[in-house]
Structures are given as C-alpha cells and as structure tokens.
C-alpha cells in the first residue's frame, strides 16, 4: 500500500517538473513557473509543495519525506505559445476538467511540439518588423527595402550562428556586425540613404525585449536571483549588439 502511494507522489512530481521545464525553456517569468507547479501539485493532491526556480534549473520538493528533485535547464528559447498551452493545462487540471494521465499526455505533446511558426516565416516577420521600425523612427520610405533585407538577415544570422556555436552572445555579436556591414554596403551602392536609420530599424529584432520584461517582473515579485541573472543576460545581449555595430564603424 505504501509503495503505491509513493509511486503516485513520484508521478505527480514528475508532471510538475515537466510543466515547469517546458514553461521555463519557453521564456515564462519565474513566478508563473513556480505558481503553475504549485497549482498542479495542489490539484493532484499535494497541497504544500516548494519550488525554487532559476533560469538554469528547477528544484521541486513536496512537504513529505520524498527527496527533492532537480532539473537542469540548459537551453532556453522564446515560445510564448507553449507558455500559454501549459498554462491552460494547469487551469484545466485545477478545475478538474482533465485527469492526471491526460495532463501528462498533453504536457508530453506540448514538449514535443515544434515552434508555432517555421523559421522562414519568423525571418520574414523580422524583416517586415525592421521595415516598420524604420518608418516609426522617422526614416524615409526609400530605406524600407534595405532595412527589411538587413533585418531579415540579422535574425537569420542569429539563428544560424547559434546552431554553429553554442555561445549566444557571439551569435548576437556576429549578427549585429553583419547587419551593420550590409547597411553600409547598401548605402555605399546608393540603394539606401540613411545608414543610421537602417541599422536602428534592422537591429530591433535582436533587442532582448522579453528578457527585459521578465527581469523586471521577476525582481518585483521577489525572485532576486532570476531577476538579476536575466537582467545580466539582457545587458550582455545589448552589449553584444552594440559592439557588433561599433566594430563596423571602427572598420569603415
């Protein structure tokens, strides 16, 4: 009898950790990850659970004699769709609309899901966004096409370099360098006119907007470790972009 209960508890812990892992890897803020894990545990019969979530790992324990479990998070992407999906699974579980095994199945499905949009579509979106930002920052319509090209190139370069080398900041640095280089090239051959506006517009898809928001929200909800480390990551990204652009200016 006792063994059966233990088995059940382990399964609950496993589901909580899976949900937390998906959310954290997809770019959810720390308090949401902790909240979701506690809610799922409560819905499945563990009213008091403790979780400690940092950007690189999750520690989860029940209030009982079971050992605490740890999950290491090495890869983080941005996939807000998955955050919303896990959120709705936890909501349905709390309302009693789905059972534990259904929830586990759903979570496994979400984890195996590819990104919502294919990469080419994201690159197209980045180039459209860059063109629009150029107009928002008072650039002229004649620079629209060069900004689109540079912006799409920037995101494509980040994705490519990140696959090539695991260092995220190097990928951002090289992408920003390429963006600057091509913006200069376009103005040199007089396809573009204002090199500043083109660069600002096309660097925008690389800006760590999600990290900044998450860092602030984490700090304000008292998750000091996560908030500071996300802030540091955002700062490093911004610095990498700035250095990449600066290098173009030094060279030319």
């Amino acid at each position: 009898m006792e063994e059966k209960i233990d088995h059940l508890t382990y399964e609950i812990i496993e589901i909580c950790l899976l949900a937390g892992k998906i959310m954290l890897q997809s770019g959810a803020e720390t308090s949401r990850v902790e909240d979701t894990m506690t809610r799922i545990a409560a819905a499945l019969g563990i009213p008091r659970s403790h979780s400690y979530v940092t950007p690189t790992g999750i520690i989860f324990s029940t209030d009982g004699a079971e050992p605490a479990k740890l999950i290491r998070i090495t890869e983080r992407t941005t996939d807000l769709h998955k955050v919303a999906e896990v959120n709705s699974v936890s909501r349905n579980l709390s309302n009693g609309d789905i059972t534990m095994s259904e929830a586990r199945l759903l979570l496994r499905e979400i984890e195996a899901h590819p990104h919502t949009y294919p990469i080419w579509f994201q690159i197209v979106a980045a180039s459209i966004a860059s063109g629009c930002f150029l107009i928002m920052f008072q650039g002229g319509w004649f620079d629209f096409i060069p900004a689109m090209l540079c912006g799409g190139l920037g995101l494509a370069a980040v994705i490519f370099f990140q696959r090539l080398v695991a260092v995220k900041f190097f990928a951002e640095f090289s992408a920003a360098f390429l963006v600057g280089l091509f913006a200069f090239f376009f103005t040199e051959i007089s396809i573009g006119y204002q090199v500043d506006k083109i660069i600002i517009g096309s660097v925008m898809p690389l800006v760590p907007g999600l990290l900044i928001t998450n860092a602030v929200r984490d700090l304000m909800s008292g998750h000091l470790v996560s908030g500071l480390s996300k802030g540091a990551e955002a700062f490093l990204t911004a610095f990498a972009i700035g250095t990449g652009i600066a290098l173009v200016f030094i060279l030319f």
């Binding site: 807000l80 919303a84 949009y117 994201q122 459209i128 629009c132 995101l155």
Partner: protein, 143 residues
C-alpha cells in the same frame, strides 16, 4: 501619424511571430503595440521622452492585463510586444556611435538617457502590475 500607427501595429504583430505567440493573440499583440506607440508619440511632442515612455508602458501593462483576463492567456504574451517599440534602441545606438568616435561626453549623456528610459519602462510595467494586484485584493475583500 496614420503611417506610424499602421507600422507600429504590423511591427508589434511581427514581433509576436518572432516570439512564437499563439496565432489568435497576434492581432491583440499588434493592438497593444499600436496603442503604446501612439501614446508615446503624442506625449513626446510636449513632454519629456522619459515621461512619455512611462505613461506608454503603464498603458501597455494595463491593456495587457485586461487582455490576459479576457483571453485567459499569460500577461507576458501581450506586454512583450507592447514594450518593444519603446525600447530605446535608437539612443543606445547613438551612444555607441559616439563612444566609437571618442566623443565620450556626448556618448555618456545619450547612454544616461537610454538608461532612464529603460527605467521608466520598468516602472511603468510595475505600476500597472501593482495597481492590478491592489484592485484584485479590493475585489476579494468586497465579495
């Protein structure tokens, strides 16, 4: 101004795609971005950039919370696309450029301004969040 509003809508929705936001949330993402940019541009005409950013992010936070309630999705999906246009990328760029040209005094001025605007964005989000929590507590007390 109309071109600004349209481009900010498209840009914010496109950012939703880059962040893999759910497909049905994309129009709302664009709307939040458009509102934030519209308020920013209007305020920036007569007030300082820092104040304009503060007010615009506060509105972003408030609209995102309302949308999150309506569509039962996490707040962050909407607020991220909303603040992207306000990020002081242009200022940071100018600061970097002056640093490279050894014009450190101008660069520091620009960098300080970019820093304050980032702070304003953070505080705007926080004020919206705190107000939301206060209203929630008030609602549960009244029940």
């Amino acid at each position: 101004m109309i071109a600004q509003l349209i481009t900010s809508f498209i840009a914010s929705a496109a950012f939703g795609v880059i962040f893999n936001a759910p497909r049905r949330a994309l129009p709302q993402c664009g709307f939040v971005g458009m509102v934030s940019w519209g308020i920013y541009v209007l305020m920036n005409a007569s007030y300082s950039t820092v104040l304009a950013s503060l007010v615009a992010t506060f509105i972003v936070g408030a609209t995102s919370i309302v949308f999150a309630r309506l569509y039962k999705t996490p707040v962050i999906i909407f607020s991220v696309s909303g603040i992207i246009p306000l990020v002081p990328g242009g200022l940071a760029y100018d600061a970097m450029r002056h640093f490279v040209q050894n014009d450190n005094i101008a660069a520091l001025q620009l960098a300080a301004q970019a820093f304050f605007i980032s702070g304003a964005i953070a505080i705007g989000l926080v004020i919206a969040e705190v107000l939301n929590q206060m209203l929630r507590k008030l609602a549960t007390k009244l029940q």
